[in-house]
Symmetry: C2
Subunit: 639 residues, 2 copies
């Protein structure tokens, strides 16, 4: 055994075993300090430079990427990216808080269908909804206490009701996160067009641009989004409470401004309908989340606001404009509304990728959803969420009213499943206080379940059918994905005997013309096998003669088989030739060495390599066939 150090800076050592050159030959590259850190023998730790400083055509892409989302973050830094409590509260409560910006309005839109008189039900309904919210919140509180590390409906339902129920909850949640983005961004755009009506025709474009911004922010990672978005939540709360306070003060002093809705807002195409219990319930299901919205509803009801049918101006902006005028305070309220809604959309950008990473780890979703990108974010989930939300925004014209039924149904389905799971859990465990817990969660489950049914019943044609259809389809797809991964893993992990020395492959080099790329391919083929066969398939008998004549000199005496193709097909005869070779010796693999010309610009590929590409596709699905690509770079050093 002889060992020698070739270059101390590179720390490459060569070890030869046996006496004759080439008999056995081992090379070790030890850590190279620019690109890799030192570790154990045969173990390297990649530095940031292996990602950032790649030469070649990806350099420009990398620069754009670094500008847009920043430099890569090491896995070790994951801990340091945690949020402070103040930030976390601002981020994770923004979803609820922001829904007050549209809850009153959506409830009133449904009531007005039953005639202007029904609008007087705004305030009583708001109180009913707040009572339901109290039930749901108490019930949810118990769930969080039982699952302190994450009370996602997917986990809770999987744990107590089995994996199919978990999948239903998971599918409902994924749909819901997507709708959170779509609804919040639509409401944010409505808040913008309330201030600048000229932007109304471009509302879908603005909505998609906001989603793109959120996507980039989230691809950068969680810390920045905390810092950027913390202030608006608190600002929004203070401003809305302040506005309601002003309203109450003016009401007390009898100076509340009068509101007269444009006459055309009061009539709808369908004309006034009879006010039935279902209309009230529809209103109920569409306006069913809020915290601040008691105040907004009270002001809207007291002042007699009517929602704008075109959705150009929000109810909240009408109240604000009447109470505080068109000035700075109004614009500040609208700005805070936009930001808190963007923040609500942003929570879904945390929730969707996290849930899909859980589901991917359980093999229910493609595995790339579980892979953390360079900035520790789940890149695939973020991009998938952005794309789906953009599709919804375009499809529904960025209309909150159109999206709300889908959103509500998803939310209440997921709630119903997690509350039911808790009921099952209490019943099974019979821990201290189980009867009280079961009662609370039972009430929660029944309440949310009834609301879900009401939404399906009353909003089926208005869009709820999409959710009703999408959930089982998603569940089937997820089961299919897991089935596929399991079957493949089983097949791939099969026991095998100790590796034999691999059978020497039959080496074939298809050569179309005698040029440099072909020469490179032949050199490589000769380097891995002394019995490589060059194959020339041609539809030109005269050309074949010239080819054969030039061959011995050009190739240095390699074996050549010429196949004439009277049907002008190039691929079929070559594959048939491989068949003949392997029919004789089926266990021996075939190695097909293809020369490929790499042009300087991608569009030049349209002028080259068409046949090579088709051949590769065919060879890829052929059993016992290995394809080696020998690229020829024009104007670059050759092999």
């Amino acid at each position: 055994m002889a060992e020698r150090r070739i270059d101390p800076r590179l720390e490459v050592t060569e070890t030869r075993q046996g006496r004759r050159p080439g008999d056995t030959y081992i090379r070790r590259v030890r850590p190279y300090d620019e690109l890799f850190q030192r570790s154990d023998e045969g173990e390297l730790i990649a530095t940031e430079r292996t990602v950032l400083d790649r030469p070649g055509w990806t350099r420009a892409l990398r620069k754009i990427r670094t500008i847009l989302i920043g430099r890569p973050i090491s896995t070790e830094r994951e801990e340091h990216e945690r949020l402070t409590k103040l930030k976390a509260l601002a981020i994770f409560s923004s979803d609820n808080i922001s829904s007050s910006a549209y809850a009153t309005e959506e409830m009133m839109r449904i009531l007005i269908v039953a005639g202007v008189g029904a609008i007087s039900l705004t305030m009583p309904l708001t109180i009913v909804i707040c009572a339901v919210l109290a039930i749901v919140a108490t019930s949810y509180w118990q769930t969080i206490r039982a699952y302190p590390n994450g009370a996602s409906s997917y986990l809770v339902s999987s744990d107590n009701l089995g994996s199919t129920a978990g999948l239903v909850a998971g599918a409902a949640l994924l749909i819901d996160y997507t709708l959170t983005v779509a609804v919040s961004v639509s409401a944010a755009v409505a808040a913008i067009t309330s201030v600048i009506p000229e932007l109304f025709p471009e509302r879908v474009l603005i909505a998609v641009a906001i989603v793109a911004l959120l996507m980039l922010g989230n691809l950068r990672g969680v810390r920045e989004s905390g810092t950027i978005f913390m202030a608006p939540t608190y600002l929004y709360i203070v401003l809305i409470l302040g506005m309601v306070g002003i309203g109450l003060a003016r009401l007390a002093t009898g100076t509340l401004p009068e509101y007269t809705p444009p006459a055309e807002w009061l009539t709808r195409d369908g004309g006034p309908q009879a006010l039935t219990i279902f209309l009230i319930l529809r209103a109920f299901s569409s306006g069913a989340f809020a915290t601040l919205f008691l105040g907004i509803s009270f002001m809207a009801a007291t002042m007699g606001i009517v929602p704008d049918p075109s959705e150009e101006q929000t109810v909240l902006s009408q109240i604000a404009r009447l109470l505080v005028g068109d000035g700075f305070f109004f614009i500040l309220i609208q700005l805070a509304t936009v930001l808190v809604l963007a923040l609500a959309a942003n929570t879904a950008f945390a929730d969707f990728p996290r849930l899909s990473s859980f589901m991917a780890r359980d093999d229910f979703m493609p595995r790339q959803f579980a892979f953390r990108g360079e900035r520790l974010a789940f890149t695939t989930g973020i991009v998938a969420l952005s794309s789906l939300a953009a599709v919804l925004l375009v499809g529904f014209g960025a209309s909150v009213t159109a999206l709300i039924p889908l959103y509500t149904l998803g939310v209440f389905l997921a709630f119903t499943l997690s509350q039911s799971s808790m009921v099952v859990r209490w019943w099974r465990r019979r821990e201290h206080g189980w009867a009280r817990g079961l009662a609370i969660n039972g009430l929660g489950a029944v309440t949310t379940g009834v609301i879900a049914l009401i939404v399906i019943e009353s909003k089926f044609l208005a869009g709820a059918w999409m959710v009703v259809l999408a959930i089982p389809l998603l569940v089937l797809l997820m089961l299919g994905i897991r089935g596929h991964y399991r079957a493949v893993d089983q097949a791939l992990q099969r026991e095998h005997a100790h590796p034999r020395a691999g059978t020497k492959p039959i080496v074939i080099v298809p050569i179309a013309r005698l040029d440099e790329p072909a020469h490179q391919a032949l050199l490589f083929a000769n380097s891995v096998s002394p019995e490589a066969i060059a194959v020339h398939v041609t539809n030109d008998a005269d050309g074949a003669e010239a080819f054969r004549a030039a061959w011995p000199e050009w190739s240095g005496g390699a074996e050549l088989v010429v196949i004439e193709s009277p049907y002008r097909a190039l691929i079929g005869p070559l594959l048939a030739y491989l068949d003949v070779l392997q029919r004789h010796d089926p266990s021996r693999p075939v190695l097909v060495v293809l020369s490929e010309f790499v042009p300087r610009h991608w569009w030049e590929n349209l002028l080259h390599n068409q046949t090579a590409l088709r051949l590769k596709l065919r060879l890829f699905t052929r059993p016992n066939t290995i394809v080696a690509d020998v690229p020829y770079h024009i104007g670059r050093p050759t092999l």
Copy 2:
């Protein structure tokens, strides 16, 4: 040297040179009588079965293809596919003959813009146009005599005015052939909707379907199209002459039916314009081809027909309906019109692919345009023509009136260039009768040139600008393509020394997990090199420890390098490792052996191989790097 015949049926012989096994080893597969015919030593002739009987996933595609376009045709049979004279006349004259179906109408459409009175100019203009046609025909006749093997403007102009003029003519012709298809098919659809007005809303769809049928017919090859389309041309001539005969007879006997156009057809949005010389010339340039159309124009003028502004009903169908009623004869005329127009479109399906094959042979177009497909047709040209024509039909709503200005300009530009070429040719050669020839071609060149200028002037905004813009762009593109091919050929054909024995490559096997596909890849790597290195890039330090522990047993002792990637990137660190290896020994190529899992269904690829695909793309553009794909087929025999 030892030779032995392994299997007489396969006629495979093995020749060993040298004593130690594996030293040198030559195998020859002689003709195998099912797939290949016998020929010289080392020369095979592929049978039809090598194309038709391929196993695997392409079998279904092949069956559909055989049903649609037929079995492959051998190159030898090319002679037998020539047309008879009667068929050739029918096919190649259909372009002129069929234009009579819309020439009168398009002329009248322009005249009516100047007011109803201007329609009386229909007949005088027709006579002027026929005179111009006589000049052009005489001039063209001289061209054909000078170039008996093909008087394409591209060849004639290249020959006499230089390759740039040839390219301008070629570009104009390619555009024109495309417009021939679009205009003829649009006119055919108008003839159909004249009979069945219910189909009018679907006219674009019908037009695209006709193009698709023509494409399939032409992919089948030329003989069928001759047989299918011969009869209609003669039928059309007889029927139109018969119809005009009936009209003349009824005119003589004073029984010509009266025509009253719907009042709304007589007013246009723009209102009547002043009748200027340009309007007459516009009429002239839009109706400038015909043979039979004197008769149609005469009947239209005598009967006072007015064209239908919506293009639902053609002028020809109005004349026919008035003269012969709604019955069998009318439907027969319309049917013959449709078929002769389809035949005219079909001539472009012969001309476009042939011209583009010439230009591809001269390196002005991508080389695949010069390749004859299985049925001896120029597949790429046919598909390109169909796609371009379909785009035009959709873009212009299958309207003859909208397409005519573009069409006319292309025709007259090409004519002007070929006539001018003939003038230069006469002048240079001064052969017997050159002065007379020069005068005739000069008159032709001036006439067609003036018409081209008139079309540009009068129809610039109506669409002629597209042709004016497209021709120089196409010429630049074609020059760019030739420049590219020449530069590449020069670079690839560089002199090189006699082939050395190729340098042994460094062999690297990236392994993500210890499964069967990885095992196959390692076996192959070991078979081509005794010093293959397995590389495991991981973002999971614990997993790396387990991997390293399992490795010696699993791999049978192959060398392993583990690269920890704290930034979770997989591709960057692997490429950096290759850089380190090659920095030490830059002339030695790297062979990267990738295991790829081939799923049973294509959509399963969405769940696998994402990283392998990205890695391949990066390696493809890396200098001195060869990629070998070792596919693992689930449920199929392994290597």
